[in-house]
Amino acid sequence: MKTTSWFTLYKMLIRTSIRSRMQYKFNFVMASVLAALIQISEFLMVALVLHKFGAIKGWSLHEIGYLFAIMTLSKTLYRTFGNEVHHLEKYLVGGELDQLLTRPMPVLLALLPQNFRIMAGEVLQGGFILCWSLAGMMHSGQIGWTVIPFSLLIILTGAIILFSIGLATATLGFWTTRIEELQTITEDAARTAAQYPLTLYPKWMSGILLTVIPVGFVNYVPSLYLLRGELGAWVLVAIVVVAILSLAASLRFWKFGITKYQSTGS
């Protein structure tokens, strides 16, 4: 099957997924608005602190807002398309992966469209904080309008990196079956850590966040260049390379993991 027909099939499966959801009175807009509120309250917490103290390690409220927003939007993009990777455990425990393995298409292509959904609340919340922080920084002259297209770029690369981390963690499930606990560390904890400047953490921690679990490349590293003019324009190229490499690596790992699939009893 050629790439174009994979794409047609993918679109069809996404439409199917959406139609399935429409069958129920699924208030998914409501649910994601709620989630957005929680995340805003998390940012408000930090905002209150910064309101009182001015800056953290030389990072202003607007800059930290930017870090937050990029991370939120990257995660939202990742979870819109790749949510089932995060929920792989239920496929492993229930043996539902069997079904997908009998289809004449790459397993991921069959898996991912199953739970495609628009996360309106998170997009709004992330978008709101992003606009607010960009406006603030542009007003003070810290950045120019070129930051906007680059921000969109790093949201994309960020989503790819987060997806790769999620995929690699999920692949471990082929050996351990249960991965939810591990995911709280590699996905939730790591992501929360990277919402703040990495200089806050001891070297060993920031090291991990730039190598093993490369969340640092989602928002922090690009921000160093885009917001503060540090490093250089090559950073953006490097980010793209990191995204591609991590995706390739996790896909290989995934392919390997599938051969170790044990399925359920009978």
Partner: protein, 324 residues
């Protein structure tokens, strides 16, 4: 030409040894000790085009594991599988596109959508041309009576309807090879009959090769010309049903109704076992491999005037239990 070739298939499952005591969960996570379970020991067979093979065995014998290895879901620890010359583990997508699979316990249709939508999606997935799809669905609709629930969401179908829809789905791309895992489980008598008829048509009229696993012995008796029995991960029998009966050598039951009185001699051949004698009816068990039917009847005739003779072959179930 061989449709399925299995050579020395072996599958070992490694599960970590569950540690007892404090923090057992955490210690299990980090333990390096594994419990090795050999689900499939060493299985080899060839299945030719057009065969209808039954694959049976007690629960936990390795049936599902074998099927999953044949369909590419599991990778064998050692050994190889060829389906129509292709290896499902090296070329999963290409191989899988040429076979049909039906899992009795799980549907491959889209749960919330009308039945016809699933066929549209599957046609796209398997690259089935529009005219072929229409033609085949029309055929299946007739054979399986699908029209009545064509637009019903899958989750609202009865088990029998869902199974029929699943069967049609598995044949949509016209595969030469069909794997069925407990397709009649939980169905009522009529539904079973309907499905068996469909499978028979697929095999006899369309020449499809079918591998069927089931716990229902009637399925095997009515459909299969060959049966493979697996137990403890190994094939304990592979051959036709009549020769299975012979091999097991369970006795045939003969009920003779005598007119008037009869007399059973004290010394009778050891090949005949009397299991009952009430009123005019004598029941005996004989091993027809040792004695031909004619000789047996001649013996029975000597005991009295025969009014009626009834012969009953051992139940297939009983034979299978012997093999298990």
């Amino acid at each position: 030409m061989t449709m399925i070739t299995a050579r020395h298939l072996q599958k070992e499952f490694k599960t970590p040894v569950v540690r007892e005591g404090r923090f057992s969960g955490l210690r299990t996570l980090f333990s390096r000790e594994y419990l090795s379970k050999e689900a499939v020991r060493d299985i080899s067979f060839d299945i030719g085009k057009g065969e209808f093979v039954g694959y049976i065995g007690p629960n936990g014998a390795g049936k599902s594991t074998t099927i999953k290895m044949l369909t590419g879901i599991l990778h064998p620890t050692s050994g190889e599988v060829l389906l129509g010359g292709m290896n499902p583990h090296q070329e999963r997508r290409r191989t899988v596109g040429r076979l049909g699979v039906v899992f009795g316990q799980r549907s491959q249709l889209w749960w919330d959508l009308p039945v016809k939508d699933s066929y549209d999606i599957l046609a796209e997935m398997y690259g089935v041309r529009a005219e072929d799809k229409t033609k085949r669905l029309a055929q299946f609709a007739e054979l399986l009576d699908l029209e009545s629930f064509w637009a019903t969401p899958v989750r609202k179908l009865s088990l029998g309807q869902r199974m029929r829809a699943d069967l049609a789905a598995s044949m949509l791309h016209d595969p030469e090879l069909l794997f069925l895992d407990e397709p009649t489980i939980g169905l009522d008598v009529n539904a079973k009959r309907n499905i068996r008829q469909f499978l028979r048509t697929l095999n006899e009229e369309f020449g499809k090769t079918i591998l069927l696993t089931t716990h229902d012995m009637d399925d095997i008796e009515q459909l299969c010309n060959r049966v493979m029995v697996i137990n403890h991960g190994q094939l304990t029998y592979d051959g036709s049903i009549p020769s299975l009966r012979d091999t097991i050598g369970l006795p045939t039951l003969i009920r003779v109704t005598y007119r008037g009185s009869y007399h059973i001699p004290d010394a009778i051949s050891s090949a005949i076992q009397i299991t009952g004698a009430e009123n005019q009816i004598v029941t005996v068990e004989v091993n027809r491999k040792e004695w031909s039917t004619m000789d047996i009847l001649k013996q029975l005739e000597q005991w009295g005037e025969i009014e009626d003779v009834e012969m009953k072959e051992p139940d297939f179930e009983d034979i299978i239990h012997r093999v298990y």
